[in-house]
Amino acid sequence: MELSESVQKGFQMLADPGCFDSNAFTLLLRAAFQSLLDAQADEAVLDHPDLKHIDPVVLKYCHAAAATYILEAGKHRADKSTLSTYLEDCKFDRERIELFCTEYQNNKNSLETLLGSIGRSLPHITDVSWRLEYQIKTNQLHKMYRPTYLVTLNVQNTDSQSYPEISFSCSMEQLQDLVGKLKDASKSLERATQL
């Protein structure tokens, strides 16, 4: 993991009991996790009365350092020993290391889910709807009598947050072909998971 000097400096301040007493340390740590993981978190996350005595610039600096480190650790799936090593290097005492690791462990799943959901991918199919109709006539052709299906795929685009739909019509044979191919794909998937 590559971490900048400012992260290290921020952590050294966090390690210092003169700067952050035990209570303040815990609060700041929790605030860092909260602002990353809680979708409703706002800027007031650092407004706790027990943090009022600390210089706001220092608070923000350390909060940013902690948040940066947490994201990097999550990205690289850091284990406890990696975390401990880095925190020791920053002169954390045993108690604070334990606290950090515990908080990290508690939030690890949400963190990884959040990081995993960032990124671009192809438009993603979320649902399908279908309609079966029986065509009787058109203005060009009377007495048709043909059943057709109208299939709509609901699609979600990751970046644009738009929800276009893809609609197409098909005959019964074509739908059977489509379903057959999708079944092949899911059987293949099943076999792959059993390897």
């Binding site: 995993g116 052709l141 009377h142 007495k143 893809i166 019509s169 489509l178 191919k181 999708l182 293949s188």
Partner: protein, 199 residues
């Protein structure tokens, strides 16, 4: 159900009895070709010269024949109704028979061509799929995220277009289940009754 032929239409068709049956058969062939591929004015001129008439007359004759065939095919009129409709033109027995044969021989194909004129949505052509597993991304390493990538081929008005999409295993199973239900619907009593009774 009888075909109603307008005066203009009857006039155009009035050319047919003036030529012999081989020519009418040829016109029939040209008319169907016209439907398949569009009109070719050069053919009209060649025929006009051979028959010593104006190319307009030939064109009207062929167009009249085309319209007769397409209207009959569109309405899917029975043999008897066709014969009765043509009877009003006062043609010879032989010509009537020829026209009937022309109708019966080409009806299916003409109906296929006419069905392509209907308003349509893109229609399904083919589906290709691929299993992928995402192992890492810029924001998270060491992942195992299975996905199914799908290339859907669609046709619209002759244009072929493809869409590349993705889905996860759970949604794939859901898609299969939903679409299988759609197929099952055709086999229900309700649908069977409708298909049987609306003809």
């Amino acid at each position: 159900m009888l075909l109603e032929l307008s005066e203009e239409h009857k006039e155009h068709l009035a050319f047919l009895p003036q030529v012999d049956s081989a020519v009418v058969a040829e016109f029939g062939r040209i008319a169907v070709e016209f439907l398949r591929r569009g009109a070719n004015p050069k053919i009209y001129e060649g025929a006009a010269r051979k028959l010593s008439v104006s190319s307009d007359t030939v064109q009207h004759g062929v167009e009249g024949l085309t319209y007769l065939l397409t209207e009959s095919s569109k309405l899917m009129i029975s043999e008897l109704d066709f014969q009765d409709s043509v009877f009003v033109l006062g043609f010879s027995e032989e010509l009537n028979k020829l026209l009937l044969q022309l109708y019966l021989d080409n009806r299916k194909e003409i109906r296929t061509i006419l069905s392509e004129l209907a308003p349509s949505l893109p229609s399904y052509h083919n589906l290709e799929w691929r299993l992928d597993v995402q192992l890492a991304s810029r924001s998270l390493r060491q992942q195992i995220k299975p996905a199914v990538t799908i290339k859907l081929h669609l046709n619209q008005n002759g244009d072929h277009n493809t869409k590349v999409l993705q889905t996860d295993p759970a949604t794939l199973l859901h898609l299969v289940q939903q679409l299988e239900q759609a197929l099952e619907e055709m086999k229900t009593n309700h649908c069977r009754r409708v298909v049987r009774n609306i003809k």
